[in-house]
Every structure is written in C-alpha cells, then in structure tokens.
C-alpha cells in the first residue's frame, strides 16, 4: 500500500522538479505530469479498492509526527478514497485531453495543472480547518492560472472576476476559521465539530461565516456570476475539471462540515441548494452558448447535491447512495460534455448540429444528456429514485416538488440542445477534427456512466430484478449498426420473436399483460417488416426502436414500481429518438420529450406516495395508497395520460406522429400509446373503488375522455395533412378508451379493451399505408392527391377496411366496440358525455370520408400518373393486420370472453351475457359471427353486381380544367376536398381553436421570460458580482442570525 501522503509528496516534488526541465524538455515534462497524475490515481484507486473490499480501517495520516490537534492530520476513509479517486481520474483524463494545449503553453502550465489536482486531494483529505483554507487557496490560484490557458480577453475577464470573488469568499472563511479557533481552542475539524459552536448565540457567528463561505464556493444562485463566466471563457478542458473535480471537492468540504452548526443550518443548506438547483437551471433555459449552458447546468447539479447534503438528516443512511449516484452522473456527464464542447468548438448550441457527422459523438452526447436528466440505466436514475422515495417516506412534498421541477427545467434546455444536435438545419456548422487524446477521455466517461449504473442498480430495493437482457440486445444492435438494413431488421425481428416465446410462459396466466405484450411484440414485428423496403444502413434506427420495445416489454414484465419506472423511461428515451428522426420532427420530438418527462415526474411523485403508504416497492403498493390518495391517483393518471395524449396533454402528438417516418408513425401511434393505456388500466384496477376521491377522478377523466374525442375528431376533420389527420384520429380514439375505462364497469372495460385492440389494428394499417403513400407521392397534403384507387388498389382496400372499423360500421369489430360502448354509457347513465361521444362519432365520418375520398377518389394528378402501388413490405403487414381485424370481427368472443373472466373479479355485475356467438345485454344483443356472414354475403352480391354493371359503362377520359382567363393564386383551393368542411369550421371551429396550444405557449413563454428577467443580474460587471457575494453574505446573515 502506498500511503496517501505520497499523492502530495510526489505531485509537489514533480512540480518543483519540472521547473528545471525548461522549454526544451517539454515532452519530458508532459509525460512526467501524466505519470504523476497516473500515480495519484493509482494510490487513491488502490485505497478505494481496499475500502470497498472492507479490508481496511480508516487511515489517519499524522504530519509532523504529532497527534492532532497539535499537528495537521489527513484522513483516508472510503469517502475520501472515492472523492480523491474521481478527482484524480478526471485530472488524469483532463491532462490527456489538454495534452497539446499544455504543451503549447509550456512546463509552467503543467506544473500548475499538477498542483491543482494535488490541492483538491488535500482539500478532500485534510482534517484541519486552516489547512483546508490554504489548499482551497492553492486550488483557486491554480484555477485562476489555468483559466488563462485560453489566452484571450474573455478568459482574462473571467479569471479576474474569479479572483475577486474567491478573494472575498476566502477572506470570510479565514475570519470564520480564526473565530472557530478562538471559540474552540483548536483548528482540528473534528474538535471544532465537537465543540458544538452552533449551540451558543455567541459562537454561532463562526459557524455562519464558515458555512456561508463554503456555500459560496459552491456558487449558489444568484451570487455566482463569477463562476459561470469561468465556465464560459475557460478552455473546456479546464471547465471540465472545475465542474467535475473542483465542485466535487468543494461539495465534500460542505459534507465534511455539515454537522458544524446543527439541524437548523442543514435546513438553510438545503434551501440554498434547492434555490440554486431551480434558479440556475431556469436561467439556463435562455442560454445558447454551450459552455455557459454547461456552467448553468453544473451549478444547478451542484445545487441539487448541496440540497441533498442539507437533507442528510432526512435521508439518513440512504444519503450516501443518493448523493453518489447523482454526483457520479454529474461528474462523468459534465466532464464528458465539456470535453465534447472543446472538440466541437461551436459558439452556439445550434452549431452542435455538426455533431451528427459523427454518430459516435452523437451517441456520447445522448448518453451524457440522458445521464444528467436521470434516465435509466445511469446512476442518477437510481439516485433520484431513492431520493424521491425517501423524501416521500418522510412526507417532504415541497422538496420533492423542488427536485422534480428543477429536473424538468433542466430537461427543457438539455433536450433542446440534444434535438439541435440530432436534427437542426443550421448553416454555420463548425469544422472539427477528432483527435485521439480528446475523444479518449470522453469515451471513458461514457463507459463509467453505463458501468456504474449497472453496478449500482442492485443496490436499490427492487433494482436487482431489472432485466438487462433487452438492453444488452440494444447494445448489440449498436455494435452492428454499420450493417445494411435487411440484416439488422431481421436480427431485430428475430429478437422480438424470440422474446415472444421467452415471455409467453411467464405471462400465460395474466391475460391483461398478455394482451398488451401481444400488441407490443406482434405489432413490433409487423411494423418492423415495413422497414425492409428501405435502403441503406438507417443508422441509429434499430437500437432506438429496440430500446423502445425493450421499455414497452419491461413495463409489462415489471412487478415493482422501480422496474416499471425504469422501463417507462427507457421506452420514452427510445421513442423520442424514433420520433425525432422525421424530417421536420425537431420541435415535435422536443415537445414529446417535455411532456414525457413531465408525465414521468408526475408518475414518480405518485409512486413516491404509494411507497410511503406502506413501504412496499411492488406495483401492488398502488392498491393501498393512504397518503393523499386522490393526489397520488391524479398524478399517476396525468402521467399516463401524457402518453395517451388526452386533452390538454395532447399537443405533442399530431406533430410527433404526423412528421415521423412512415414506419415509425405506426410504432408510436398504434403501439406506443398503448403503454399509457396499460398504465391507466393498472392504475384503475388498483384504485380504491369505494373512495370518493377515486370516483370523482373517474368522473373527471370521463369528461376529459369525451372532450378529447370531440376535439380529436373535429381537428382531424379540418386537417389537410393526411398523417396529421390520422394523428388527431388517434387522439380521439384514445379519448374513447379513456372514457370507456373511466366508466369503471364491466361493459365499459370490455369496450375499452375492444377499442384498444381495434385501434392497434387499424391505426397500424392506416399509418403504414398512408405513410407509404405519402412517401410515394412526396406530399402530406391530401389536396395534392387523388385518384389513387386505380394506382393503389390494395392500399385502397386496406384503408377502406380500416375506416370501416373506425366508423364502427357493421360487420367489422369497430361496431362491436361501439355497441359495447353505448351499452356501457346507458348502463352508467353518463348521458351528457354520451351525447358528446355520439356527436363526435358523427364527426369521425367527416374525416374518414375526407381521407379516403381525397386520396383515392377524384382526379388523378398529372404528376402522379406514373406512380405504382406501395411496397409489398408495407402491404404484407397491413394485410396480416386485416386478417386480425376479420378474426376479431367474426369471432369477438374468442378474445372478449377471456377478458370478461379476467376482469370479473374487479367488477361485480356481469352485464354481458354470451349465448354461443351472441352477446346479450339488457339493452339488446349483437352477434358478430352472424353479422359478418350476412353483411359479407350482401357485400359479395353487391360487388358482383357492380362489376357486371361497370363492364357496360362507358369510360370517360380525365380532362384538364381550363381556368377562364386567370389561374387561381393558390391552385389547391380548386381541389374538391380542400378545406372541405369550411362550413362546419365556421360553426364549430371554436372547439378546436388552439386554446390549449396557446395555453402551453403562454406557459413556456412565461418561463423563458422569467429566466430572461433573472439573468439580467449577470450584467458582466465584476464589481457587481463581488457585490452579489457580499450581499449574499449579508442577507444570509440577516435571515439566519438577524433575530438576535
């Protein structure tokens, strides 16, 4: 074992020797520096390993050979080992990253770099107050020097601001230290902590000064302009170190001193951290410069960690796990992002669009962004999960809200940025080249994130059951991403089919899950089949699609809330990437993501309440929520409804589904939305049917469902874009489902299931076929289509059958759904809502007519004379789905009867009777098989007659429309189906007035304006920043101690 003191001795010795090397031995200095950093990493890593194997007790290093408090002592325990290790790792990697910059500046800069990393080690290890001060000063002076690696005016100004602010802060710390010494007679931290200075009104002032200066070192909002400028102007390699290493060390100092004042002070720390977390992220939303944005994000994350330290009494022993999970994610992601920023070297986050030239960089960027937000499988996910659960246990709602709001705001700018990188059309793209020494550290950090994530997951309750198999498959697909489509597609389909066989025995006796597994997996196979008609490699598509399916199937398989949430987030991430692939999907993918994380946080809050109710981590905990049950259920419902796109939460859907690629639309519409339905079903089954809160909620949701239906159908009718029309139709259909489920009766649920299955079948067909047509014709606009019936007869039949199902026209299964639906409504007595639903059912005919008429009937357009039928790869899955429709229509009892059995325990009355194939209710009966036979026979007869007739008919050639003297300014206005329902729109358009879009726009504008207003404090004047620091001290003092 190499003693920790050698970290310091070797680093300093090397630094002193390097002065001799001079410029001629630049290379030698460089390698010496790296060797030194490597040695430091080795020593701390070795200690960390020993501690993790429990083969060591805490080691105290006595300098000068005397016992503390008479001499300075250092301590090496597991926490110190952890912190020094991560500091040294990022130091070493940062040294590699800055290899060329340091060489250019010369050995002096290398010495400074080495000493900088060394000083952070001492800051972590020292147990002496004044020694802490000295090495904090060493660290800040070194930082002020390293800022100047970027030799420009901005770096100079930032460095000066940094010097002034830290000068004031460290002086205040010094006064605090000398008073602590005066009161306690010792400089040893343990002695000072034991002296309990917070207890006396006289001595508490030392506590205040120490706290305020340590907190100010952490750059609390809003007294942190000086810190942000450092991130902005310094070389990103230095930014990475400041963010990952210095901030970690400062945080550890706070942790070390946390018990200095007592519980009341911890409250202040938590509040300061919370304000910083929310405030800093809020201001980040207006930021366009990558480094500065990273600065805001860094400060925000450190605020969150500060808050966690402040909440340590509440979090108890979980605190270490939570803090390290979030810290390690921040550490690796922020270092990686700063380094990436240095590689891209763009002035504006829009310039990051250049990133997609290199898929690997994009992969790294995505990894870091998701790790920061706290998506699985990264350690921050587990940290945040435990944090929310533990806070919920103690009933700390305000803290939970703070954390979730702050995280959401962070998502606002991180996903905007990620979206730009993936999708933005931007002209001024920076040129960049990737040097090995710059990309290597970034890779290491990404690997750290994944490895630590998988390592920590079993440490959480329920985390050990997480099924990483599908994720492995995703990784495998990443590895083979360079292969052509047909191979990857086959592999993906094979994987799904294999999983079907794997999962069937597990779910055999759980029909609810089996149905959804069927929708997800069979749907997955069918929609993937359409992919065979694409050419090339389709980079990134398959891993992301599989990630979505992995999430979906994980939701089905999960038995604990953690697994559920893990899979939910996985699904969200995968589907986000799928959605944003569309040509004009940038804003829609973004809003999808924002609604999704908002919804996910609502779910998380609900889960927290459920966990707190009985300390049960399984999903069954949803069954007995006794803490604020109505709130919990509402939050969970809202969370799931963001995925089902219910009214108010639906504005992301039309764009996301409408603009997605032709085979992605059916995935995210027919399949993905059902995850929300599944969530709602689970929730509704668990909710306490006797409670007034639950019944009120259902009543409200019933109305929401009905209104969603109306708005969805009306909007669909006024669409000119074929895919958006289908998207709005989805909103409406999901409204039906929500309504049906909210009825909470036997019949209602049967209707809900029927709608769910139907929607899966027909929406997959419609999106596949219409998507194919849109690609063939090169336009989304229906008024630019027409007469396709002869060119695409198979498509026509597929669309026809689908709209028969949507319309609920006998003999197809849509009728079964409607029949059950109206029976359920009558039985429940929701007449007003029922009327609304009935009315929107009529509206549905308008858009269905428009869809089939504009595309397939009417005149063929000149430029479409040569188009052919869409690809067989689209038609085959569609027709398989049509077979599904036929079976479900003819033999509905095959599926409905088992569902009845399944839901029987939940709903007392058996309102539906079966008599052979005949279904009976008190309002009448319906026999799917017979209707099918009758209508089928009639159809065949009529068709034969028509064909016979049409043989005699005289064919008339299409003629050109000649405009008398003038051409219409907008040719589309002459199309028969253009704005076909203008009259209705005039009368009823207010229903679809974009009120909700306007509402959300106002909300987002408001947030951004608040951010804009707040950030005016960052005026750029260094004196003002110093003033902020002093003012912060004064205000904190008046609040904390002003009372006496």
């Amino acid at each position: 074992m190499v003693g920790p003191i050698y970290i310091i001795a070797v680093a300093l010795g090397l630094a002193f020797v390097m002065g001799l090397f001079g410029k001629s031995l630049k290379n030698l200095s460089e390698w010496a520096m790296l060797a030194g950093l490597g040695f430091m990493t080795f020593v701390s890593g070795q200690w960390l390993l020993e501690f993790m194997n429990n083969t060591r007790a805490v080691e105290t290093i006595f300098t000068a050979g005397f016992k503390p408090p008479y001499s300075i002592n250092l301590q090496m325990g597991i926490q110190e080992a952890f912190f020094t290790f991560i500091i040294n790792v990022v130091g070493l990697l940062g040294g590699i990253y800055l290899f060329k910059d340091l060489k250019q500046t010369g050995p002096n800069a290398m010495m400074v770099f080495l000493v900088f990393v060394m000083s952070l080690n001492v800051v972590v290890m020292t147990r002496d107050m004044f020694n802490l001060f000295v090495f904090l000063e060493v660290g800040s002076i070194a930082t002020a020097g390293l800022i100047l690696l970027n030799n420009n005016g901005n770096a100079l100004q930032a460095g000066m601001k940094y010097l002034i602010a830290t000068g004031i802060i460290s002086s205040i710390l010094l006064v605090g230290i000398i008073y602590a010494y005066y009161f306690s007679g010792s400089l040893n931290i343990d002695d000072i902590l034991a002296a309990n200075l917070g207890a006396s009104k006289v001595t508490v002032i030392a506590v205040f000064l120490i706290y305020v200066s340590v907190l100010l070192e952490l750059k609390p909002f809003p007294a942190n302009g000086w810190g942000i400028d450092v991130y902005t102007a310094a070389n990103p390699g230095i930014g990475a170190l400041v963010s990952a290493a210095s901030a970690s060390a400062s945080l550890f100092v706070l942790y070390k001193l946390a018990s200095l004042g007592g519980a009341e002070w911890l409250n202040y720390i938590a509040i300061i951290g919370g304000i910083t977390f929310v405030g800093s992220n809020l201001i980040g939303t207006k930021q366009e410069s990558p480094n500065r944005l990273l600065g805001y994000s860094s400060i925000g994350q450190i605020g969150l960690l500060t808050m966690i330290v402040g909440l340590s009494n509440i979090l108890g022993e979980k605190m270490i796990f939570i803090a390290s999970g979030i810290l390690i994610s921040h550490y690796a992601a922020k270092a990686g992002l700063f380094w990436l920023s240095g590689i891209i070297n763009a002035k504006d986050i829009k310039g990051w669009a250049a990133l997609r030239k290199s898929p690997f960089l994009l992969f790294l960027f995505g990894t870091f962004v998701f790790a920061l937000i706290g998506f699985p499988p990264f350690p921050s996910f587990f940290g945040k999960w435990e944090l929310i659960m533990t806070l919920a246990t103690g009933g700390h709602w305000a803290w939970m809200v703070t954390i979730l709001v702050g995280s959401f705001i962070e998502g606002i700018y991180l996903f905007r940025w990620l979206g730009y990188a993936i999708k933005l059309d931007h002209d001024e793209l920076p040129d960049f080249k990737i040097e090995w020494n710059k990309i290597f550290p970034v890779w290491i950090m990404a690997i750290v994130l994944y490895a630590v994530g998988v390592y920590v997951s079993p440490l959480t309750e329920g985390g050990m059951f997480i099924n990483y198999l599908p994720l492995m498959f995703v990784l495998f697909l990443f590895a083979i991403d360079f292969l052509p489509i047909y191979i990857k597609n086959t592999v993906s389909i094979g994987g799904i089919i294999w999983y079907m066989f794997h999962i069937y025995p597990v779910l055999e006796n759980d029909l609810l899950r089996l149905i959804f597994a069927g929708i997800f997996l069979i749907g997955g196979v069918l929609t993937l089949m359409a992919g065979y008609n694409k050419k090339g490699t389709r980079k990134g598509f398959y891993p992301m699609a599989m990630m979505m399916y992995a999430g979906l199937i994980g939701i089905i398989e999960s038995s604990s809330m953690l697994e559920f949430f893990f899979s939910w987030e996985l699904m969200t991430a995968g589907s986000y990437f799928l959605i944003i692939r569309g040509k004009r999907s940038l804003p829609h993918g973004y809003s999808y993501m924002l609604f999704s994380i908002g919804g996910a946080y609502a779910i998380l809050f609900g889960f927290g309440l459920a966990f707190a109710s009985g300390f049960d981590t399984s999903l069954a905990a949803l069954g007995d929520i006794n803490i604020l049950p109505t709130l919990a259920y509402s939050l969970l419902a809202v969370g799931f409804m963001t995925k089902t796109a219910s009214l108010g939460l639906h504005i992301w859907l039309p764009g996301a589904h409408g603009e997605a690629e032709s085979d992605v639309s059916p995935m995210v519409s027919a399949i993905l939305l059902k995850a929300g339905v599944f969530g709602l079903m689970l929730l509704f089954l668990y909710m306490d049917r006797a409670s007034a809160g639950a019944n009120n909620l259902w009543y409200v949701l019933g109305w929401v469902g009905a209104l969603t239906t109306l708005v969805g159908n009306m909007s669909a009718a006024f669409q000119e874009d074929a895919k958006r029309l289908l998207a709005y139709s989805s909103i409406a259909q999901l409204g039906y489902i929500l309504f049906a489920l909210s009825i909470m009766t036997h019949l209602g649920w049967l209707a809900g299931f029927t709608y769910t299955i139907n929607h899966f079948l027909f929406k997959a067909i419609l999106f596949l076929v219409v998507g194919g047509i849109v690609v063939k014709l090169g336009t989304h606009n229906m008024y630019e289509m027409g007469g396709m019936i002869k060119k695409m007869p198979f498509s026509f039949i597929a669309v026809l059958i689908s709209i028969i199902v949507i319309g609920g026209i006998p003999p197809l299964s849509g009728f079964a759904g409607k029949w059950l639906f109206y029976n359920a409504i009558l039985e429940k007595g929701w007449y007003f809502q029922g009327a609304l639903i009935f009315f929107s059912g009529i509206v549905a005919f308008l858009y269905l007519y428009k869809l089939i008429h504009s595309i397939f009937l009417g005149q063929l357009k000149d430029n479409h004379r040569t188009v052919k039928e869409i690809s067989a790869w689209i038609l085959v899955p569609s027709y398989i789905l049509i077979i599904g429709i036929m079976i479900f229509s003819a033999f509905p009892h095959w599926i409905l009867k088992p569902i009845e059995t399944m839901i029987a325990p939940y709903f007392s009355s058996q309102a539906l009777m079966w008599d052979g194939t005949k279904a009976l209710t008190s309002y009448g009966y319906w026999d799917g098989t017979t209707i099918m036979i009758v209508v089928g026979t009639a159809f065949v007869l009529l068709l034969t007659w028509l064909i016979v007739l049409s043989a005699k008919a005289k064919k008339i050639e299409q003629f050109n429309i000649v405009f008398a003297a003038e051409r219409p300014f907008r040719p589309e206005t002459t199309h028969v189906s253009y704005n076909i329902y203008a009259g209705y729109k005039k009368a009823l358009g207010f229903v679809v007035a974009p009120g909700i879009t306007i509402f959300w726009n106002v909300v987002s504008t408001f947030v951004l304006e608040v951010a804009n207003w707040f950030r005016r404090i960052y005026s750029g004047n260094m004196q003002n920043y110093a003033l902020h620091v002093v003012l912060y001290i004064v205000v904190f003092y008046l609040i904390a101690l002003g009372g006496f």
Partner: protein, 234 residues
Amino acid sequence: MIKKWIILGILAGMGLIFFDLFSAFRGNETLGKTADYYARHGAEEVGASNIVTAIVVTYRGFDTLGEVTILFLTAAIISFVLKIRQEDILPNRPIRITSELLDSASQVIVPVIFMVGIYIFVNGHLTPGGGFPGGAVIASGVLLMILSNPNFSVSHKVIAWVESISGVGFVLLGVMGILFAGGFLDNRVLGLGDFGKLFSAGIIPFIYSFIGLKVGAELSNILGAISHAQNEKN
C-alpha cells in the same frame, strides 16, 4: 450615485456582522488548549526557541508547504501568462542609463542584502523572522540588481535551479520524516541539538533555508517576469 448608497447599505450589513464579531471577542486571559500545548511542549519537542517557527515549520509544516506552493504557483502562472519568450524581447531596445551611483552602490549593497536575508532565515528558529521575510529580503536584493541595471536579466537558470532544488529538498525532508521519524515533515529526523544554538531544532534550519531560498527565488521570478514583460511587444 444611487449605486454608492446601495454599496454603503450593504457594507452597513457587513458592518453589523463585524460588530457582532467584535462583540463576540472578549479577549484572552489564558492560552487555549492548542496554544497551551505548544507553549508547554513546543520547545522540548521541536527544540526551537521561537514557538511560532516551531508551529510554522513543524507542527503546521504542511500548511507552510502549501504556502510555498502558492508562491510557486503564482510565479509559474505569471511567467506563462506574461509569455516571456525570446522573440518577444525587442532586439534593439533602448538602453536606459542608470546613475552610476546606483550601479556601484548596488554592487556593494546587494551582497550585504543577501547576507541579511540568509541570516534571517537561518536563524528563524531562534529569533523572529524566518524563511518568508528572509526570502523577501533576498528578492529585494535581486530587485536592486534589476533596477541598477535594466539589462540585467534575472538569470533564469540559476533561479530555476535554486527554486527547484529548494522545493524538492523541502519535500524530500518531509518524506524523510515519514521514513525516519513520526510522519511527513517530522522535525526529529535530526537530533534536536542544544536549545538555542544555530544547529539545533532538528531540520528546522534546513527547511527554513529551503523555504527562504525558494521564496526568494519565486519572488525574484515574479519581479523578473513583470520587469521583462515591459519588453514584450504590444
């Protein structure tokens, strides 16, 4: 103008804090726990009659190492920030004529100044002073050399050697403490000697010499760097 009043208001708040600090201070009648220990045992454990030195070099020697590091850092940063490169120095810069008096005086005075500086740090364990003032005095000697002869370039080689060797020597003495005595920077690597003598107090005189030399070298470096920066092209 309003801003001045705002500042004054905030400073009034600071004044309140300072006033509370002032009221919290109630003087001392006796020594605190740590100080009492040093007073009782400092001389015998470390062998230095100057207790402050005993603390600075031994008990809190680690702080002093950090402090030396700060000067070292400052010098390093200043020299890379000001970029003293050969090509920056104007080839035919005007030679300033200094008074002959200053020139010849410096030849006499500089060695004396150096001697004084060395005396101060070598006797640090016996009398007030020590490495830091000693080093500062040496640096002022160097300064005088620069002033008397503007073309006198602080010989980087010499200073670099002094700086490095004294720095490494400090660290090595510290490590010897681990190997041969109780810990890093332990004074008792050498015998404590006779109390009050020059060669006593263990390695304190050596460490203080290293500190003095290093401080002198660093300060000379800083001064040299700034004075050279005058020659830099704008």
